[in-house]
């Protein structure tokens, strides 16, 4: 048997699983979004925008804000790991920052739900330390809770990628700028970050797409209105059996994710040109 044919035969079963269990349903979803009672039309989309425009905006704002915060936090962590001057402090940070990375989203939802609630551990600790009075304590279980959960869970992942990229850049330019008297913040923002911009972007895009499709966190932390598109999709299917609007919502979140990937592609093409 020719080697190419054998190779294809060996890969085929695995590829078939992806084709039937992911690509086919994805196409079904795109087609289903335009189907209204057997005929093609825009009905699902008009209904979606009537009912869920607020949630679409809410989702975009929440996920974008989380992405920005994850970016800032991971640059800060990676920057300190690379430029930090005290080995003990660097070691402490390296040990500390990774923990949330391995924790499943559903567990993140549960533990932050109890931590951030009005009488949760965060407020209780601040009250016991005298930083807060019981009357001033507020629950964070709204959009802020979702943002905190996303940043909490995704920052270690992006920081790990960014720190890895920062560790492998040529240190000569850093030393040169340091000898010329540049502050560490300037070193980080003007020399280190531009060199790892691509890795940072990839990490942030992966996080953006992941956050767009997480269902457990919005269900656990903030199930009231406005909520995220994922919770709406689950609601449309489970409560109404309304696959048309669910598919339309799904297609909208796909388009949002794809537009981010498109920005990345354009940037990477420009970089190569």
């Amino acid at each position: 048997m020719p080697k190419r044919l054998l190779g294809l035969l060996l890969v085929l079963p695995a590829l078939a699983v992806i084709a039937f269990l992911f690509i086919l349903p994805l196409i079904m979803s795109a087609v289903g979004a335009f189907q209204v009672e057997g005929a093609f039309g825009w009905g699902n989309f008009t209904k979606t925008f009537d009912l869920y425009t607020k949630d679409i905006v809410f989702t975009v704002v929440i996920v974008s804000l989380s992405t920005v915060l994850i970016g800032i936090a991971s640059v800060a962590i990676g920057g300190y790991l690379t430029l930090g001057e005290h080995p003990v402090a660097v070691a402490i940070l390296r040990w500390l920052y990774r923990w949330p990375m391995f924790i499943p989203f559903i567990v993140v939802g549960q533990i932050l739900r109890t931590f951030l609630s009005k009488n949760g551990m965060m407020n209780n600790t601040f009250i016991n330390l005298g930083l807060l009075t019981p009357l001033d304590a507020v629950s964070f279980l709204d959009w802020r809770g979702i943002v905190i959960a996303f940043v909490w869970k995704q920052t270690p992942f992006v920081a790990l990628l960014v720190a890895g990229a920062m560790a492998s850049i040529n240190r000569d330019t850093i030393e040169a700028a340091r000898n010329l008297g540049a502050s560490r913040l300037r070193l980080l923002l003007e020399i280190v970050v531009p060199q790892v911009a691509m890795t940072l972007t990839v990490g942030l895009i992966l996080s953006f797409v992941t956050m767009m499709s997480v269902l457990s966190v919005p269900l656990m932390i903030n199930a009231q209105s406005p909520t995220m598109l994922t919770a709406d999709i689950a609601f449309r299917v489970n409560s109404y059996g309304d696959y048309g609007v669910a598919n339309a919502l799904g297609l909208i979140s796909l388009v949002l994710a794809a537009s981010v990937a498109w920005i990345y592609l354009r940037a990477s093409l420009k970089e190569r040109a």
Partner: protein
């Protein structure tokens, strides 16, 4: 990795730097470990209500409830473990031949094939699960363990195939050639030489697939519930019902394997394999 450029001893102000550092690290530690500590407290809290900041009574009665035959947790735990193990077996059965072919044989469109396995991780997958649930409903796979396993496999394959490919590429092809030269058939050489050498890498990919399956919520929610109860679903329903003790114990059951296995993976996944992932 960064040596101190200004030795602390020569700079008397360096000690003062520990004040802001200590505050920032302290806050970080509070926000990272606070929620985890809170979870641990809930698992042993017998009585805990507003406005008390610590439980009033401690005990293990919730643990007894969780592990009692009617608690539902044993059923969920068993289901989760069965699904995760089957997912690992099916994923590896698919990924070992695919990974070998991708690493060793000249394949057309090799890059595209590798990318195809990434698709389920790279797209928002909620709508996909909704439609899989519809297909499965028609072919009576919805609400069955094989159905849930298949959904998890499609998601775990990227780890299985990418890491298996890297594991096979990291092995010297000449070892296999040597076995062939002394008379072993192609399959025999693969089984006796290549496969054992790739075992640590394959083990790591199995762990990734296992964890992915154990922690997967959305697919299990649409395809499995309410017939196949899994740990993440139990966690969701008990938390929604306000039973924080049971929810916290379930969360702990999900959390421990994640942390333990990740420590193991660091030992299995060696740099020579890691550097080839995705190439």
């Amino acid at each position: 990795m960064t040596a101190a450029h200004i030795p602390a001893a020569r700079n008397p102000l360096a000690a003062l730097w520990w004040v802001p550092r200590g505050i920032i690290f302290g806050l970080m530690a509070f926000f990272i470990f606070g929620p985890l500590f809170n979870l641990l407290l809930w698992t042993v809290a017998e009585k805990w209500y507003f406005p008390y900041s610590l439980p009033l009574e401690y005990g293990f009665s919730s643990w007894a409830k969780v592990f009692a035959p009617r608690g539902g947790a044993m059923e969920s735990l068993t289901n989760s473990l069965i699904v995760a193990l089957l997912t690992v077996v099916v994923s590896l059965l698919l990924a070992i031949p695919a990974g070998y072919a991708l690493a060793r044989l000249k394949l057309p469109f090799r890059g595209l094939i590798l990318l195809a396995f990434l698709i389920p991780q790279a797209f928002p997958n909620l709508t996909v699960y909704v439609n899989i649930a519809r297909i499965f409903y028609e072919i009576r796979l919805n609400g069955t363990i094989p159905g849930v396993v298949l959904v998890h496999v499609s998601h775990g394959l990227v780890y299985a195939v990418w890491i298996a490919t890297a594991a096979f590429s990291a092995i010297d092809a000449e070892l296999e050639q040597a076995a062939r030269n002394i008379g072993a058939g192609a399959f025999r050489a693969f089984l006796d030489v290549t496969l054992p050498l790739a075992a640590p890498g394959l083990m790591a990919s199995a762990i990734f697939v296992f964890l992915e399956s154990l922690d997967e919520f959305t697919g299990s929610y649409f395809v499995g519930a309410p017939d196949v109860n899994m740990l993440p679903l139990l966690l969701y329903t008990t938390a929604a019902g306000g039973n924080y003790q049971i929810a916290s114990i379930t969360a702990l059951l999900l959390l421990v394997p994640s942390l333990v296995f990740m420590l193991i993976v660091e030992r299995f996944l060696k740099a020579d394999v890691l550097s080839r992932v995705g190439h």
